[in-house]
């Protein structure tokens, strides 16, 4: 009941889905669509878990006065405000006016977008200092890698003089379309087999990590 039933469920659904791919008949498609339709709903409930645990963690922080607990208040404020606006100040719960709500949109456009975009743009600086302090031609392989990288980066550089620039361009596109292609294809095939192997193990009940410990 606790361990067996999940394994059986996984097996049944998994095997059905595999063979559904080879059975175009509408009766199989009917079941297929039914399942898909259900899975979204289940999935959405599952995602709500993440939000809930965020709330719990923040609340715990405030409650136990852990370090930086005031910031947890900020987090919860953001969450609450967004939900409040999203339901159009609590006026429309079951129609999507909230998505058009002025505050909702402005919070998204002028708080979420700037911060998220900027957070990632910090990497521009880290890559610069890493380039300076860490990216070393330690070995033949690292040298090879750096060389390829430099060529790709110099691709559209006009200061090399038209002659060199042209060859840079050609070399870069050749590197991309020939050795890069070969390398990535090798990886893709390998990874593909890896994914399929894992999926098979899950369906056959060999891989059971998702059950967790009990």
């Amino acid at each position: 009941m606790k361990r067996q039933l999940p394994l059986i469920l996984v097996f049944i659904f998994g095997v059905f889905m595999i063979f559904q791919y080879f059975v175009p008949h509408e009766s199989s498609e009917w079941v297929f669509e039914f399942l898909l339709d259900w899975v979204y709903i289940i999935g959405i409930f599952a995602l709500a878990l993440g939000i809930w645990s965020l709330v719990r963690v923040s609340w715990d922080k405030i409650h136990k006065r852990k370090e930086n607990w005031p910031y947890a208040i900020v987090t919860l404020f953001g969450l609450a405000a967004m939900i409040f606006f999203g339901f159009d100040y609590g006026r429309h719960f079951f129609s999507a006016e909230g998505l058009e709500n002025f505050m909702f949109r402005h919070f998204f456009d002028y708080i979420m977008i700037p911060i998220q975009a900027t957070m990632f743009s910090l990497l521009a600086f880290f890559i610069a200092s890493a380039a300076y302090r860490a990216f070393r031609a330690r070995s033949l392989l690292a040298t090879l890698l750096l060389m390829a990288a430099l060529i790709v980066m110099l691709r559209f550089n006009p200061y090399l003089g038209s002659f060199v620039a042209e060859y840079m361009e050609k070399t870069a596109s050749w590197l991309l379309n020939v050795p890069n292609l070969a390398a990535k294809r090798g990886i893709i095939i390998g990874v593909g087999l890896g994914i399929v192997a894992t999926a098979l193990k899950v369906i056959l009940g060999i891989e059971r990590n998702y059950l967790g410990k009990d």
Binding site: L5, F13, M17, L36, G78, A117, L123, A148, I187
Partner: protein, 264 residues
């Protein structure tokens, strides 16, 4: 140059402020960065809740449970069975109770079964069959040396792709010690791989930089617009927004120099 309303200006100022607050992490971790960071965590979570509700539960579940002719909960909606996924979904929430968490395994199992089963033939087809098929290409023997410098369509390029794929695959072959001939093949494989990674690397640098460029562009537009529409009110906000950072910067600089002195 457009002139914006005070309201929009204040909002954009907030955006600019938060942008700089986030950048201040480059100097060191500081309260303003922490503020921005935690704020965005909360806001994006809230945003996600709303999107899940209005684009998820509402259309896919609630609106289906209720289609007009309704007086006793879902029982006489025309699609009452939609309560089943709802209950399965609710089971997920038992995750939080020690005693009942095993209940949540059923919906997980269902989801996992469907997802994995779906993936197997498709991944096989896309990553293995198709890639294998397109590896078996006819080499352009007529024009083996291509026209011009490093021509990707030339015969030797085609041949190189084929050999490269095999070598790269072989490098990830673990059942054989890399000795003799295999050593050479694996060596060639790793070279090909490294060039591949190199190109990714070059692209990645570009990617990271462009993230920063966009921020500059946004800030640039902001300053341009606000200056162009400069009025007393605009300028005050402007100075408040940036004054904070200038002051902070000077303070830190002073401290830095001070430390240098004491160190020397």
């Amino acid at each position: 140059m457009e002139v914006m309303s005070m309201g929009t200006f204040l909002w954009t100022s907030l955006g600019a402020f938060l942008t700089l607050a986030t950048f201040s992490f480059l100097y060191k971790d500081n309260p303003m960065y922490k503020l921005a960071e935690h704020l965005v965590v909360g806001v994006s979570a809230g945003y996600f809740v709303i999107i899940l509700w209005h684009n998820g539960l509402q259309p896919n579940l609630f609106s289906r449970l209720d289609d007009g002719n309704f007086y006793f909960f879902w029982l006489n909606s025309s699609r009452p069975w939609y309560i089943i996924p709802a209950i399965l979904g609710a089971m997920m929430w038992t995750r939080f109770s020690k005693k009942w968490s095993w209940v949540s395994r059923w919906p997980i199992a269902m989801y996992l079964g469907i997802a994995t089963g779906l993936s197997i033939p498709l991944e096989m087809r896309n990553r293995v069959n198709m890639q294998l098929y397109s590896t078996m290409r006819e080499v352009n023997w007529e024009n083996f040396f291509g026209n011009g410098f490093l021509d990707p369509t030339a015969g030797y390029s085609g041949l190189l792709i084929f050999l490269g794929v095999l070598a790269a695959l072989f490098y990830f072959f673990f059942s054989k010690e890399h000795t003799g001939l295999f050593k050479g093949v694996a060596r060639f494989g790793i070279w090909i791989l490294m060039i591949g990674f190199g190109t990714s690397f070059g692209y990645t640098v570009m990617a990271r930089i462009s993230l920063f460029i966009q921020r500059i562009q946004v800030l640039g537009d902001y300053t341009k617009i606000s200056w162009s529409g400069a009025s007393g009110a605009f300028l005050t906000v402007w100075f408040i927004t940036f004054g904070i950072f200038v002051a902070l910067g000077l303070y830190e600089l002073a401290k830095y120099i001070g430390n240098r002195r004491t160190a020397a």
